[in-house]
Symmetry: C2
Subunit: 459 residues, 2 copies
Amino acid sequence: MAEQMRDGVTRLFRGRSVAVVGASTDPRKLGHEILANILNGGYKGRIYPVNPNADQVLGLPAYASASEIPASLDLAVVVVPAPFVAGVLREVAHKGAGAAIIISGGFREAGREDLEEELRTVVTETGLRLVGPNCQGINYRPNMLCASWPLVTASGSMAVISQSGTVAATLAGWAVDEGLGISATVSLGNQVDVCETDLIEYFARDTETRVMALYLEGAKDGRRFLQVASRAIPQKPIIVLKSGRTELGQRAAASHTRSLAGRDEVFDAACRQFGIVRVPDIESLYDSAKALESLQLSGGDRVMIVTSSGGCGILATDEAEACNLRVPPLLPDVLGDLGEAGLLPTAIVSNPLDLTVAPAEHFEAAVTVAGRHDLADVYLLIFGDPIPGATEVVKRLKGKLGACIVVAYLGGGEVEKAERLQMHGAGIPVFPTPQRAIRAIRDAVWVSRFRARETMTSG
Amino acid sequence: MAEQMRDGVTRLFRGRSVAVVGASTDPRKLGHEILANILNGGYKGRIYPVNPNADQVLGLPAYASASEIPASLDLAVVVVPAPFVAGVLREVAHKGAGAAIIISGGFREAGREDLEEELRTVVTETGLRLVGPNCQGINYRPNMLCASWPLVTASGSMAVISQSGTVAATLAGWAVDEGLGISATVSLGNQVDVCETDLIEYFARDTETRVMALYLEGAKDGRRFLQVASRAIPQKPIIVLKSGRTELGQRAAASHTRSLAGRDEVFDAACRQFGIVRVPDIESLYDSAKALESLQLSGGDRVMIVTSSGGCGILATDEAEACNLRVPPLLPDVLGDLGEAGLLPTAIVSNPLDLTVAPAEHFEAAVTVAGRHDLADVYLLIFGDPIPGATEVVKRLKGKLGACIVVAYLGGGEVEKAERLQMHGAGIPVFPTPQRAIRAIRDAVWVSRFRARETMTSG
């Protein structure tokens, strides 16, 4: 049974054949959009639309029911009205499916606990693994399967697991705009079966995923969540945005997904103890996932700030101090070497190091000197103007110093947009303000310290 | 003298003729870029490039020195090496100029206090009003004068005054991308003459400006700053991002613009007392300016949250409670009317009101009912999906309820981008996350309460 169950989760993501039950010919319907996204998302497996009123949908032959599909199935995506879902699941299980994604709403969240109970019965009887109901589906890029919306095809290494379809879509949208892409988005819905913990378990083993970003309103089984997460964290950082911080928020969460949030301070303390990064808002969830996706830090908390904008250097310094990061002063030997590095006479040689209106190469010269003196654990480069050639410089620095280079790029118009895409392509995280960069660095440093401590303890 | 001085500031912005001293034929030089931006920015006055080594620059006849310009001047933009600046200023003053913008660096910030002292002498002798030196210039859209970089031509009603050219360029860049535009950006530089307070005085009277966003490292004259600001605030909200919050940040600020920041808590308390909104980071500066640019609130702090995304509704509720805004519950008569408003059976009718996957018209129905019952002072509409027609709905709601409609739009891909531009065109502020929307609402509510209290006290 356990083996079959695990197989079910694998088929959810890796299935080679999928039925879309409720595939619609009407472009305004979700049953149409999802089939279109599976087709346009590049899925290489077999696709079977099910629609009793159409001969074909989007050019594919349609079947009146799942039973009539002339082959065995791995996965079904279900978009039919709630009262029909249980019946459909029995049919697809009979056709060999190991997993199903139930997009349809109208269950517990609409007062129909009875219909949801029926789904639970089907799970027990058939061993099917279910995602949903009342969810926005799954997009899994390693299998090029976008059984969700909107259509996202850019492949990256961030897996987004979310009790809100919108939060998942938002992170994916930003990751696409910024040239990062995603490995997966999973919208959890009512979690009648597959929950956030099953997904952490899956993505911990998924070679295409380097970091997990979660939006939660509560954990289905807090103890198992923490156990599974703590086993995953040595390889894969986990960042969590949990709502219900306040009493009013908790009440709203209870109405939304009936999550039993528990006391917020308890969750907070558990995160700190088990190495889970907890963030306060949607942008921090994205930022910290971005940082942890690519940075490889040593556990140290010293930050060197090199900037072409004096003001942004100060804002970064303020934020670093507020985040308990160290901004070490430059000792005389470093000052001496920097004095010979060919910086502008207007440069303010300190930490933060204000290069003033300098070419990209001055960033390289300064960081190289600092690196030689092992001055910092993380280097924040702030490009406060359109500075062409910045990408080449940060790539070379990453080659020399390793994945400890972070960029804030702002005020650079079109040059900035182009350079950001290139830097992300090279695995260097870029943030839109110095403050967001520093807060993401804080979280990455915290994870690296946590890991270093764990290694020491277990070693 | 005072009249002449004020005239000088006016000519800084409204001048009908401008000399660019140091206009370069080399596209890599600032003296080229600034002339190009004045030309391409739509300036309708006369433009005189000064360059002793060229007959013309960018198609305009060039003059060997300012003295040879065959007409009188209002304004000069100076981009020559620091030791030549004072001489140039005497020349342009002689040609009738009332103001100058000194882009050139190499003064106090580079240890040349002597050269800066010389500028002070010229100011005293000639009555010229100076912006800079060591600054990124001025862009003033009412006069279509972009004596700065990058080129920004989109006209709006936000004036950005900044001790960091990059922070100003960043805000302007966002305002352009989001279809808002700016009325002005002023980069202050070393403030040898014109300071943030002179500019607050100017923009308080400027009919094209509705809100001022300032980045400061310190105020030149704290007492006058507060006096002038408090006179401006009844008409024009002022939002300030001040760096040097921490000791290390203050030290960095002292190196950057030699600002004497004073104790941070004192500045903080003064802001609260005088009605200045103080924000913690660059994005908040932009967000709060955006909110205060268009919202007209009554002083009340009740927020009604209507959403298509349950998760985002909860995140907004959490943030509202953290911001001390009230999210009032729905009383029976409101619940009754909402029950007849044609919402989906899946809707969760509370505050936050989760419409679930609903068309834009359901937002209108819900907010109309809430408005009829005077349920809230601000309405936050969260569009958590691509929802076509959202703009028409929020425009109609603004027509009915006034400028108290705020939007968070996320996860909507291209539809979201198009709708955001249209909503901004209609004067409705749109934020990328529910949390940023709520924090901006908090600041707008605070200003409206401050004003209401002031009116009562003085009335």
